[in-house]
Structures are given as structure tokens and as C-alpha cells.
Symmetry: none
DNA sequence: TATGAATGAGAATTCATTCAT
DNA sequence: TATGAATGAATTCTCATTCAT
């Protein structure tokens, strides 16, 4: 990876943190530049606009999630175990790299106008969506999961996890995040599993 | 209700629509004034600031949801039926009054800074949260639902519904929203129900 | 004329002076606001953009020239006298209201990109062009002027006058502008007149 | 000519094209560097500033015109024929090397501030002005032209030609440029010629 | 109550120029 | 000579809020 590529990634990481903490519109380019100890003008040598940076950031953060899930999908374990593993992983992200999850929830989902051009459909998050699809398809094929439409299952899994991430951000939970892992997995698994499983 | 109160409500409804469609930061006071056919200055006779208006709007829209759920909670039906009814109702909202749901998802959840002072905890949405609590408590007491912590159940229900509302907004669903009602209810119910139920 | 209209005109006049003196790109909105003793933001309550202001300015200044020439055209005098009168008038403008002429020469003619949308063809200067056309047509019909294509005659008249206005701006002339009036008129008239005249 | 001199000329030619097409302020040093397939920094090894480059460009383009006119002046033909020849030559330039003419009209004449220091008076275009002077003086001495002040005659010739070049740039002419050559020459010649001629 | 002109701080973005390599 | 990352001041435009009427 070239020095320029490395710096681009570095900017993305800083932007990710700031965007997720303060929101897209409350994060200014000078904010990001300051975090980078870089001049404002130089930022534009790396990204043509704040929007472009936001689009790179969603791809970057989604890739992290996609890779984690892909690794889980590759394991020789039951779909139930995959659900439990992914849930745990997700909550650990919320705990340790909250910006990755929060960016998705608070920036990507809420600022459609920013991602309208260039991220149509699921274009910028497709790698992750694909892995969820694989998880669900394999579960259904093995008979572990009920047959159901993708979107209802998808919104169950991600809504459940995303909703909990929000609660965590609201600081209303009294226990450590990870302790909720089994309960949440259980909810998701029960919703998905076939009656014979 | 006084004439002033009526006008306030009218402003809130217009603001709700604009905020949910364009986001908090892309909706200007002149935008809202224009929708109201009212002068900018006069707006400030009703609300002290844009933020205050946003806070009134979250209370207003949450009340609609709370009242709907309260009515369902009062019915003499099983908890399962309540889940199915609420889900249907929610999806009908998404279809017919999208601003109520979208405001919650795209403005309230994503712009923490706006609601930081005055809506701490669940202050501005407490009526609705309370009704969900009642739904869950009664289900647990009757033995229909498993015992589980409130927050895991809450985030499952609302995440599931909210997630689907997002998908609907993304225009990726090919069927009419209402047709998904049973599948979604089924997922939620299965996640909640006790093994004996 | 409403107070707002009056103020708009006042802004146009100030902009005209600044644009013509310093050029379009070296005149900033704060410059114009300062000349108006008005805040920058308020400027935008009158004109949506710097470009829009520049377009209003060309119409405003062209109208002045058009009205002067129209008055001359209405007189019951020979075409030769009209040429002499118009030339004198034009040079008096250069001397007393240089911004009107300079704006045309230094802003309108040179910054095509600014006037590209909205002033296509001669849209923003058509009233003046029309009067020149009338002057030439009537001279040709009365037999005073040779028959010739409009554009060759037009560019001769306006090039001759505009060129001299430039020289005046360059401060290379040693006599008072008005003293050149007859020589210039003579040149223009000789170029136009028919051999029998 | 040294390799460095050659490259300088090459830069000037590219700058001439870009400046005349997009204007001085809309042409950036990176634009010119890109056209040269050269780095931005290296540009500054050849020209100390954008303004200096613009000054070299006016000298370069004026020299082209000056040399053309000088050659015509050296011919053993009547002044009338010289006028006709120069006009034709000028229009051919407009057609085939528009940048040379447009640079003069759209950059040099309109951005006084750029050429203020270093091109005072006619310093940067003096070679060309001198040749026009020679053309006029010889015509007057031979009795072909009327006696008249240099500046009135100069603005007639160059205004007439420049004005037509502008019209050509505006794309309002329906015939090929060269076809207007005789009419324009005729206008200029009639304006200048003595009554006995 | 109602109007809308006025304010001014702050946003994103641009670009001539420099300089370490 | 050549590169292109880095600087930072400057520019246009926006908008919540105020206030005289």
C-alpha cells in the first residue's frame, strides 16, 4: 500500500470516529484535519469532498463487519453457533470500536442525502449484506432455519443488534455489553430456527 | 385547545414532515415557515428555537405510537395477538404516515446532540417505552413470554420493526409493506414466547 | 418602485462600479456589502448569487445605453447627425459614468462563463443591439448608408467606440475625451456612408 | 534556442490556450501543469508566478501579430492593399489560432491588474503598436490616408477587428469568418482614406 | 401576533506558492 | 530539473436568530 493510500486510510479512520461521535453535519473538515494534524487544504488532496470521504468511510467500516462475518461463515459450526458468534463479535465491536457500528447507525442510515449518489441500493454495504445472505441461506438449506424472505430475516438480525447498540450508546444498560450476548443471540436464533431444529 | 395550541400543533406536524424527509440539518426555519405560510419571525413566537421544535416533535410523534399501543394493550386478547396487531399498526404507520416513524429513526436516534438536553434517558419517548414495557410484562406474567430483561426484548421488537421501516424507505421491498406483517410478527413472537406457550 | 426594488438597484449600481473597477473575480461579495454598508448575509436576500448580480448589472447598464440611443433614434435628424450625437454621448458616458462602459467591456465581454446561462446570444444586451440595428436600418433605407451586413457595421461602430474607451482607460490620451468626438464620428460615418451621400 | 527556452515557449503556448479559453482566474497552475504533463512545482522553475506567465504570454502572442504585420508593411503594395491583407490575416488567425486573438481581447484587455506592473503603457504590446503606427504613417505620407491622430485611427482598425473577433466567439455569424474579410477591410479603408484617394 | 430585512459567525472548498525529497 | 504533498488565507454562500415596524 502506497504512502498516499495509507494516509487516506488514516484519514478515513479519523473521520469515522468524528462522524460517528458528532454526526456528519457537526463534523467539519477542519475538525478532521486537526485530528490528522494536517492542513485543511491538504485534506482535499486526498478526498474531493466531505461527502466522498463519508462514502469511503461507510465502505471501510462495512468491510470490517463483512470480513468478520465471512470468517464466521467459513467455520465448520452450526448456524446457531454462527448466530451466537456473530452477536458476540458485534457487541465486542460496539464496546471496542464503537465508531464502526455507530457510523453505520447514526451516519449511514440517517443521512440518505449524503449517500444518495454512489451508494444506491446497498452498493456501499453490499459485501456485508452478502455475508448475511450466506449465513441465512446456509441455515435454511441445512434445515436449521425456517424458510423466510430475506428482508424479514435480515431486519430481525440487524435490527436486533443495531437496536441494542443504540441502547448501549444511550447509556441505559447497567451490565457490561457482552453479558447480554447470549440473550440477544437467543432471541435472534428463536426467531429464525425451524420448528424441528 | 387554544388557537395558539392548534397552531403550535400545526407547526409541529409540518416540521415533522420536513425533518423526517430532509433531516434536521437540511431543514431550515424558513423551510418550515414557508410550509406554514407564515413569516420566519412569527415562528419564534411559538417555539424558542429549532431544537425546541425538534423536541416537541419527538414527543408529538411518540405520543401517536404510544396511544396506538396503549389501545392495543387495553384489549382483552392474548399477548401474541397484541404483537401481531402492533406490528400491523406500525407497518400501516410506515405506509400512511411515514413521517412519524422516520422522524424517530432518522432524526431522534441519529442526532443525539439535538435531544441531549431535555430528552435525557427516554424522557421524550417515555410514554411509548412504558407501553412496550406493559406489553412485555403482561406477556411474561401470563406465561406467554419467556422471562427476559426488558432491554433485550425492547431492542428486538423495535429494532425488528425499525429495521424493516428502513428497508421500506430504501425502496428495496417488492411487495406491499402490509404483506410482510405476519412474517415479522411471527419472528418477534417466536423470539419472545415461552417454550410452553 | 418598492423599497426592496430600490435597494436592489442601489446594490446593482455599487456592484457595477466595483466590478468595472476591479473585475468580476477581484470583487468579493464582502466588498459590495461594505460599499452598501450592509451585511454579507443580507446581500443574499437580494441576489441569489454573485453571478445573478452580474447578470442584473449588465441588463441595468445596457438599458442606460439603449435608452440614450433610443432617444437619439427618435430625433428628426439625419443619420450622420445621429452617429455624431451617439458618439458624443458615448464618450460622455466614458468620462462621467465610466462604470457603465467599462462593465460592458471588461466584465461582460471577457467573462463569458459568468453570463453563459441566462444571457445566451445577445439576450442580456438585446435592447441596445436593437437600437443599433434601427439606427443602421434607417440610415440604409434613407440611402445615407451603404447596404452592408449588420454584424460588420455593428462591430465597426462598437469596436471603434469600445476601443477608444479602452485607450481612455489606459490613460494614454493627452486631450480630453470629448475632443476626439468629431474624429471618431467622422471615421464611423465614412465607413458607413453611401457613395452618393 | 536552449532546451529550457523551448520548454518555456511550450508552457506559454499551453497557457495561452487555457487562459484564452477559460480566462485568467479560472485557469489554475495545476491546469497548465496537467496540459504540460509536468508537475506543479516544476512549473515554477520556468516562471516565477502565474502573473509572470501571463505577461510572457501577451508578449508571445503580440509578437506573432507584430511579425505578420511587419511582413505586410514590408511589401511593395498600396496602403489599401495592406489594410485588406492585414484584415484577412487577422481573421485567419481568429479562425485557426483563436487563442492568439482571444488572449488579447479576453485576458490582456480585461485584466488590467495582472499586467499593471511590467506592461505599463503599451510596453508588452509595443512591437505590434509600432507596426500599426508604421502602416498608418506610410499611408498618410503617401497621401492615401487622411491625416488623423494615431489613437483614433488605431482604435478604428483594432476595434473593428477585435469587435468582429468577439462576434465570432459568440457564434452569431452564419457565414465563414473569411467571407467577411472584404466588408471589414472596406469599412476600415473608407474610414481612413483621404478624399482624393 | 405578524412581518421579513438584517446580522454575523461559520461552513465547504479552492489555489498560488513552497519545499523536502 | 522534477515531484507532488503541504500550507493557509481567501472566497462564496448559509442560516438560526433578532428586531424594528
Amino acid at each position: 500500500m502506497s504512502a498516499k493510500e495509507l494516509k487516506k486510510n488514516n484519514i478515513i479512520e479519523n473521520a469515522l470516529k468524528l462522524f460517528s461521535k458528532k454526526g456528519f453535519y457537526n463534523t467539519t473538515i477542519p475538525d478532521i484535519a486537526k485530528a490528522m494534524k494536517m492542513s485543511v487544504g491538504n485534506m482535499y488532496n486526498y478526498f474531493a469532498s466531505k461527502e466522498e470521504l463519508a462514502k469511503y468511510a461507510i465502505k471501510y467500516s462495512t468491510n470490517i463487519l463483512a470480513n468478520q462475518l465471512k470468517e464466521i461463515n467459513h467455520k465448520q459450526i452450526s448456524s446457531k453457533e454462527k448466530i451466537f458468534l456473530f452477536t458476540k463479535q458485534y457487541l465486542e465491536n460496539v464496546k471496542n470500536s464503537p465508531e464502526v457500528i455507530e457510523y453505520f447507525l447514526r451516519v449511514y442510515l440517517s443521512n440518505r442525502e449524503v449517500f444518495a449518489q454512489g451508494c444506491e441500493g446497498f452498493l456501499c454495504v453490499s459485501e456485508f449484506v452478502t455475508e448475511v445472505m450466506i449465513l441465512l441461506d446456509e441455515g435454511a438449506q441445512s434445515g436449521e432455519f425456517r424458510e423466510q424472505e430475506f428482508f424479514t430475516a435480515f431486519s430481525m438480525i440487524m435490527g436486533c443488534l443495531g437496536g441494542f447498540a443504540f441502547l448501549s450508546g444511550e447509556k441505559v444498560l447497567d451490565k457490561d455489553l457482552i453479558e447480554y450476548s447470549n440473550s440477544i443471540s437467543e432471541n435472534i436464533y428463536r426467531a429464525l430456527k425451524s420448528d424441528k431444529a
